[in-house]
Symmetry: C2
Subunit: 460 residues, 2 copies
């Protein structure tokens, strides 16, 4: 019975592979045969991440290599000083194989066909994550060291590090520019992007050859790492001690020495709820920070990726795992795990989502439960040596996923309902489940998803 | 009596001048002697705009020249690939004269000491506006054509036009990055910045010498102008006809041909209020646009500057003036004019301002009345040949400003209360009043504040 579910999952994953020039190049978003395809026939870069990881773990490395090569070709390479094309360095949200006059080619979507026209900022960051995973898994560092890949990495870094209207070490992005690709009050400097950005900086430092061409960009990468980590570890961190400090903030402080640098009014913080909810030994990174803004929602992806990239200190990582363990009903419930907690409700939902019916409270991105987060949870648990959390979560997922036909997401405060508009046979649900199990069973697999600040990749 | 108020104003304006190396270089924000100075002893770039205009009109051009020269020196010139300094091309929010060992120098503030640490995106755009006004007023085109100024213009354009995480022709900026320099739900692509950006593009096209060095950037400027205008004129425009279309939008449209490109849910639009409020012959540019976001508040600065820069069509400009005329109580009331309408209230205020007590409903930036907007209103009225609007507005202002000691802003739904925390003798209140009168009295003065798409500045 137990092996059965893994075999079924693996078979479904193989079924989702798409081919280009007769070679595997990615996986479709979902194999759901009910309803119209809309854009589920595409390979999304972010969706392919758990697929790629499990393929690497299982030794099927060719599909990942070909994916990296082909998506690199889709990256915008020309300097764009007009807006008519996406910015140089940007990677598409997704691609699909199309046929014109019996010729195959890959058609990229940079958000220009997406619902709401959102920009896929996370794509280029995930792409770097996968490139690093590939070269570590295969020890084929030469791929990353080839001129094309060096240029690709450089362009992504230039895009992230170029001059901009901002004074923080974090990245300024539009609302909905990552996995949460709908408006949900995560404009500005959302945690998810910052965690991925930090891992991207570490990757660039590992993979860029320190030659003359890369000298300047490597220096910029180096200059950004520590201030970014310091900024997040301090200003984004919330535990009962920080909550006490913020609660007593004075407003309108002027000058370089201001304690309340971002002019946050403590009435805007749900301090009554937080003071009850926060475990004594718990803490987490808040979702966002800006002038007069501290978004205290718990965002899982940003917190888990912060642990994996060592953006959080060891102590902070343990505190995050404590929150997950002690707030199990809220953050795991009947399906690991909640994408963010709590949901936006009532007027907050109207104002911040723009009355998005798909993001009703406790549904979809607004407090739904997403099995794709399982691989990150398992990896964070493994990294912090809290494997009982991963075990328990995988058991919960195993109880339902096959029966529920590998649903995309779950609704309800405890994740007990299959998502109202969830696709079945969602590839990243399947891949994440497989990946989580492999990470739990074999700590060696951590090397492709975990970062240490001092990591260096040697040239082979 | 009438001349008396103008003489008093002029004298107060002269008193506000600050000197550097014994030469006039700017005006302080306020001459209020009550209360502590905080940052009102600085010269803010955006605050200096009406001062500069009235000085140019009155033939006192040297202060403007020296201001342009000195602020140009404060612009960030080095490539910044780390975040540790503001982006290359950025202009400071303000500067002040400081003394170290009896040596004078100018100290710039890029927002690093500001309350809430906001980035002054509008500074570089206003700086270009003033440079153009100066060269037109003095016919000293050679100043703009000098290598230093050419470089300064180029850097601003590069900052605005460089690669970024965005797919629109508009500029992505953090919340509170312009005159409304506190959080107020104007993150993303706020109208105020887009109107100033359009005038900056027109200015760059006029003032950059078409040589080899400028070739690429001039092409980029040219490429951006029309798509930006088309985007704003279509997607930001709201009148009863557009409201009808948006009201019947279908959600979740996918693909390039989607009618509801930004996936706006009509429940998020205050259509009931708007269908009552909007005059039949009226229309205006909405405050913001993004995925699932259409901010229907009326922002005065963005709309007036859109008229001045010809970002709106002639028909649209008339429709905006119709709204101002027919919604006089709401938008002008007892002091021209309302900065935005309506105010954020209740939970919207909590969520979008972060409970900012200075931005309570109908106070300060959140629906307060600002005399500084008078010069833009007068100029927009002059440009659209609706001078009775300017006359009436100036009369209203004249009745109160001197008695109220040139208050910074007014509170209340109808602008009848002097702002709770308003400074007295606020320089831009004084300068704007003088400037409005000169623009009304002499249409020739329009040439320094108004743009036509086909404007060209000849080299002398």
């Amino acid at each position: 019975m137990e092996s059965d579910i893994y075999e079924t999952a693996w078979q479904k994953l193989l079924d989702s592979i798409i081919y280009y020039e007769d070679r595997p190049v990615g996986t479709v978003a979902a194999l759901d045969t009910e309803g119209e395809a809309v854009n589920y026939d595409q390979c999304f870069i972010r969706d392919f991440v758990p697929s790629a990881l499990i393929f690497l773990i299982k030794g099927k490395t060719e599909i990942v290599r070909f994916f990296l090569l082909q998506t690199l070709k889709l990256q915008i390479k020309e300097t764009q000083l007009d807006f008519l094309e996406p910015g140089r360095g940007l990677m598409p949200a997704s691609f699909k194989v199309v046929y014109v006059d019996e010729e195959e080619y890959l058609k990229a979507d940079f958000g220009d066909r997406a619902i709401g026209r959102v920009t896929p900022v996370d794509s280029c960051l995930w792409w770097l994550f996968l490139l690093r995973a590939y070269v570590i898994a295969t020890e084929q560092y030469c791929l990353a060291h080839s001129p094309e890949f060096q240029k690709g990495i450089r362009l992504i870094m230039e895009l992230c590090l170029s001059a901009r209207f901002d004074m923080y070490p974090t990245l300024l992005v539009p609302d909905g520019s990552s996995m949460i690709d709908r408006r949900m009050g995560i404009d500005g400097h959302p945690l998810e992007i910052q965690s991925l950005f930090y891992s991207a900086l570490l990757t660039a430092r590992q993979l860029l050859i320190p030659d003359r061409e890369n000298f300047k960009i490597l220096k910029a990468v180096e200059n950004r790492l520590e201030p970014l980590a310091a900024h997040i570890r301090h200003h984004y961190w919330l535990d009962i001690e920080r909550l006490n400090i913020i609660y007593r903030y004075k407003g309108e402080e002027y000058g370089e020495e201001a304690l309340n640098q971002f002019n946050i009014y403590s009435n805007s913080i749900p301090y009554a709820q937080l003071s009850e909810w926060l475990p004594e030994a718990g803490g987490y990174l808040v979702g966002n920070l800006g002038p007069s803004k501290l978004d205290c929602r718990f965002f899982s992806l940003g917190n888990l990726m912060a642990i994996l990239s060592s953006l959080t200190t060891k102590k902070q990582s343990q505190a995050i795992m404590n929150v997950i363990e002690q707030k199990w009903e809220d953050l795991i419930g009947y399906m690991p795990m909640k994408i963010c907690f709590p949901a936006l409700k009532n007027r907050d939902w109207e104002v911040l989502t723009g009355c998005d019916p798909k993001n009703r409270p406790w549904s979809y991105h607004n407090g739904g439960n997403w099995p794709v987060l399982l691989w990150m949870l398992a990896a964070a648990a493994q990294k912090t040596n809290r494997i009982e959390i991963a075990q328990k979560a995988i058991e919960i997922a195993a109880r339902r996923l096959k029966t529920d036909e590998w649903a995309e997401y779950y609704d309800g405060k405890n994740g007990r309902l299959i998502g109202k508009e969830a696709r079945k046979y969602q590839t990243w649900t399947i891949a994440s489940f497989l990946c989580a199990k492999e990470i739990l069973d074999n700590p060696q697999n951590m090397k492709i998803v975990s970062f240490d600040f001092n990591d260096l990749v040697e040239c082979s």
